[in-house]
Subunit: 221 residues, 2 copies
DNA sequence: TCCACGTCTTAATCAACGCTTAATGTCGCG
DNA sequence: CGCGACATTAAGCGTTGATTAAGACGTGGA
């Protein structure tokens, strides 16, 4: 049972994290939207506890980005009292349930269990192309059944490509995926990751589309 | 969700681009009419945010050129306060909505969503002739189902021809499409692109109309 | 605390590609 | 038959991507 907590209040975050660990659940903590995005790319969680009222970028945009990317991980919103419109927006955006602060932690765990139980019928997708498989729930990539160890950035780059096989992914998009929107990057890191992926996964997999970006599959050749 | 922003003020452009990315939308930025034309040829956007008061060539001419070319992408005009006649002209020319500067960015996003929602019924056309297909939303050309890789200039040339099958397209028009109106070209580049297209897509496709230009379909077929 | 290791970034160099040009060959029209 | 319009090549050049290797950085273990 892996959880992601997105919460900017360190006190509350600590309480929740401790509680989760007492339930013998793994929990990661992101304190802002950018960190949450990065974590979501890195790992397939059983559920996300999402504080909507984050400083800067709202939690809602994280949720929308997830759903826009066909990420169906259950999301439990944490909202402040009285923010009714936020809750409505959140449910519209694809949240599975919400909890109004302040709340009893016991109720939080009950809701988390309920949300996860409801989602059991769903399937966490395994992306694949040819002999390459990427299992998001285990964060594992295999080639012809053999496990291929990838670094975090390599994994994110590959995932972004595998999510839309047959379509060109621009370098700009890859940078946003790898660096969580705040691209303060200056050099050819993406080219390096592509190079590593080709080395580890075989040459034929990733096609270069000159002047546009990279692509997996359907090279037309 | 792909957007094109046409705006010459770099400050405002940056604000809008950042906002779009926080919404997890892709956005391209053109700072003049010529760049906008080129971008519109290269890609089928979900919507265009068009500043009317550009230096040099007005945004209105971009809009008119789009509609004249049967491009139905939703267009949201950005106009300066008080320029009522501009707004009327813009709506007449086929804009879907307008926003008066200065505006709240939140309102901008609301309008963009509205404009896109209204346009959902529409279809981004896939141009085709015979066994050739051109998919603007993916920027992909296929021949009998097989993907044909085209360079940027080849793609633009083909699109211009495919937009009006059975009609003669002059070399001047093609140059304007390929070089975004600022044709600082001296030689026979268009002839070269036509040659490459014929080589990649088959001889019968493009007909030469001596003394006038080129054409796809009819007559020779 | 310090060292070893793997990862990430930078930068330099090399290769591939696309665009333009121009020279030459071919066709159509007057 | 001659001229102008178009077709076909191939070479030069700049841009883009590929490939390295070395340094910075952070983490975990001794």
């Amino acid at each position: 049972m892996d959880l992601l907590l997105v919460e900017d209040d360190p006190m509350l975050a600590e309480v929740i994290c401790d509680g989760a660990r007492q339930n013998a659940w793994r929990i990661d903590h992101a304190d802002c939207a950018a960190a949450a995005r990065a974590a979501l790319v890195d790992h397939a969680y059983s559920a996300v506890l999402l504080d909507i009222g984050l400083p800067g970028e709202s939690g809602l945009t994280v949720l929308r980005a997830m759903r826009a990317g066909y990420d169906v991980t259950p999301v439990l919103m944490l909202t402040a009292r009285g923010q009714l419109s936020e809750r409505i927006e959140g449910l519209d955006a694809g949240a599975d349930d919400y909890l109004v602060k302040p709340f009893q932690v016991d109720e939080l765990w009950a809701r988390v269990r309920a949300v996860i139980r409801r989602s059991q019928g769903r399937v966490v997708p395994v992306f694949s192309w040819g002999e390459i498989e990427l299992d998001r729930s285990r964060r594992v990539v295999t080639r012809a059944g053999a496990r291929v160890p990838l670094s975090a950035q390599e994994y994110r780059t590959l995932l972004a490509l595998l999510e839309r096989p047959g379509r060109v992914i621009t370098r700009e998009h890859l940078e946003r995926v790898v660096y969580g929107n705040a691209s303060a990057i200056e050099s050819n890191t993406i080219a390096v990751f592509i190079h590593q992926l080709r080395r580890k996964l075989g040459e034929g997999l990733i096609t270069t589309v000159h002047g546009h970006g990279y692509m997996i599959g359907e090279s037309g050749a």
